[in-house]
Amino acid sequence: MRSDNFISPKRFSHIYLEESAKDHPKTTEILSKFPNSHVIPIDSYKEVFNPSSQNFQTQKRSPKLILAKRKEQFLYSGSGVAPDFGYQFFYYNALVLNCLYNCSYCYLQGMYSSANLVVFVNNEDYIRETAEQLKLSKPLYLCISYDTDLLALENTLGYCKEWIEFANIHPDLIVELRTKSANFKSIARLKPTSNIILAWTLSPESVIAEHEPLTPRLSSRLKNIKEALEAGWQVRLCLDPILNVPKWKSIYSDFISRIFEQIPGDKLREISLGVFRMNSDYFKNSKKRRPDSYLFYLPMETHSFVKSYPEELEKEMFAHVEKELESFVSKEKIHRLVASEMQSI
């Protein structure tokens, strides 16, 4: 039961401000949007974010914002559990740690001890480092919304706009902006850029209701996708993770029909498929932090430190979903991410 005393999740009642970030213009911009928040000075974001004696799920009721400056590691090589779509130079970055949403299957709850959001305010350093890497690695495929949902935070941070503008002048950079948000309007006025991929993660409505609390409804996401396609943006659909929910076959069949009632399949760049999978350490932590979710009690197999459904079930799920999708999109546009072929990070 939720107590009325708990602060609303999106308000950021407290903002921890790292000494090194306090004079940054992005800090000033962000703080101006939260005039009623308590601003608490800190030496390093790690002293708030890293301690193990935090309750991830309780903090999700009222997450705090931590503003910090990233000093190093502005690019990471792509994780083995995420799709590289055939690009040799596959990178991701971490502009923000953690997400506004609270999906029950999310690996972040197993990866971090805190549910608070760390925002690195020095985006210009990330952009500079990417420009340097681009001189060595072309084309460079970069996921910028990996351990967070940047589009959901766009009204606060404005990072999507900065990256879209950067990608506009660097055609060899392919940027994936993954989201579950319905916040396309925040970038709708920008010029559609062919090397920016807006990648929407979609789930059946019943899965959203049960396992993706705080995320927008399917209908809102579909409306956004339609608008983005009509405006000429590159859109990828991510049906990922496909979950072993009761009656999953009929639920995913109905879901796919519903998507293509609104979305023209031929306009999509591609569709990415993946069944539930997670690094086995994160799985163990997540199970502890989500004792109310049956997803962590379903039959699983472990391959190379990745937990996923038994191979037979995974194959069956892919085959079923692909068959349904092929009525609406060409086979070449469908990409499978097979758990048993992955390497954990």
């Binding site: 005393n5 708990f6 004696s53 009721r61 009222s62 004792p291 009690y297």
Partner: protein
């Protein structure tokens, strides 16, 4: 149980009276006052005493059900004139230990009408002429020790600190010890509404899905009848909890299934071979996971 740590008896007295706490008759290292809902310990002055008393209290009641429990520290502090008038109470969101330079952060996930502040814990009392060297904040002598010890037992959302300003770093040279004691009690007495406000805010309950005692009986029945190893028993327990979460039904239903389909015959004798046990375990896995 709500655990409370206070440095001095004059600070504790107004709350002991308000909550009608009774002193424990056992001779313990630190005086403990309690009723069925609260346990209050008087630690003595300083961060070391506060840390020891906190650890003592929480170890003493380590068998208490910790779901719903949390810990609270309140007491007097000094403050510069510019940031507070005497008698004002603050909810603390940052504690810095002046000795180590390290800071701790209680998670404030609830709304309250109290002003919030950071707090500096010092090893020696600070007076007017020295206070200029300190950051412009509240100053006490216990909170960092209390917080550090509490964090070994509770997550930071279950640790709360309220401090009431008793002075502006004034040295009370002309008044007696009794008068000082009375002044401290009076400050806290006046702050009782704020203290009670924070005490009355429940912590966020945790969802815990465990087997009920009657379901544990079923688990033990399976274990004995199928001659399961410890690892197999842990696996089975996991499937039973998963079944309970997924279906909302009691895993005792597996017992009926087990009795009607038992591989070793319709009796309660243990299976004769490990193979029979594994077969039975597999049947239960299918029941609980299908």
């Amino acid at each position: 149980m709500i655990f409370i740590v206070v440095a001095l008896l004059p600070e504790a007295k107004p709350l002991i009276t308000t909550l009608d706490l009774k002193i424990l008759r056992d001779q313990t290292s630190f005086p403990i006052y309690q009723n069925e809902k609260y346990s209050l310990v008087v630690s003595g002055i300083g961060k070391v005493c506060s840390a020891i008393a906190t650890t003592f209290l929480l170890t003493q009641y380590k068998n208490e059900d910790r779901n719903g429990s949390w810990i609270f520290n309140f007491g007097i502090c000094g403050a510069p004139k510019e940031i507070s008038q005497i008698g004002e109470s603050f909810l603390i969101h940052k504690i810095t230990d002046r000795g180590t330079g390290k800071s701790g952060y209680p998670d404030i996930l609830f709304k309250s009408s109290l002003r919030e502040s950071s707090l500096l814990t010092v090893d020696q009392p600070v007076f007017e002429n020295e206070s200029v060297e300190l950051p412009n904040t509240l100053v006490d002598m216990e909170a960092s020790g209390f917080f550090q010890a509490s964090r070994k037992f509770f997550t930071s959302d279950k640790i709360r600190i309220v401090k009431t300003v008793s002075d502006h770093f004034t040295k009370f040279e002309s008044i007696t010890k009794g008068e000082i004691t009375d002044t401290i009690s009076m400050r806290i007495q006046n702050a009782i509404p704020e203290i009670l406000q924070i005490l009355s805010i429940p912590i966020s309950p945790e969802n815990e899905f465990e087997l009920r005692p009657d379901e544990i009986v079923s688990l033990n029945h399976f274990k004995k009848t199928l001659r399961l190893s410890e690892t197999e028993t842990i696996q089975l327990k996991d499937w039973m909890i998963g079944f309970k979460i997924r279906t909302g039904k009691s895993p005792n239903e597996g017992k009926t299934f087990f009795e009607t389909t038992r591989v070793s015959g319709p009796n309660t004798n243990p299976v004769k071979t490990r193979e029979e046990g594994k077969k039975g375990l597999n049947a239960l896995r299918q029941f609980y996971q299908s």
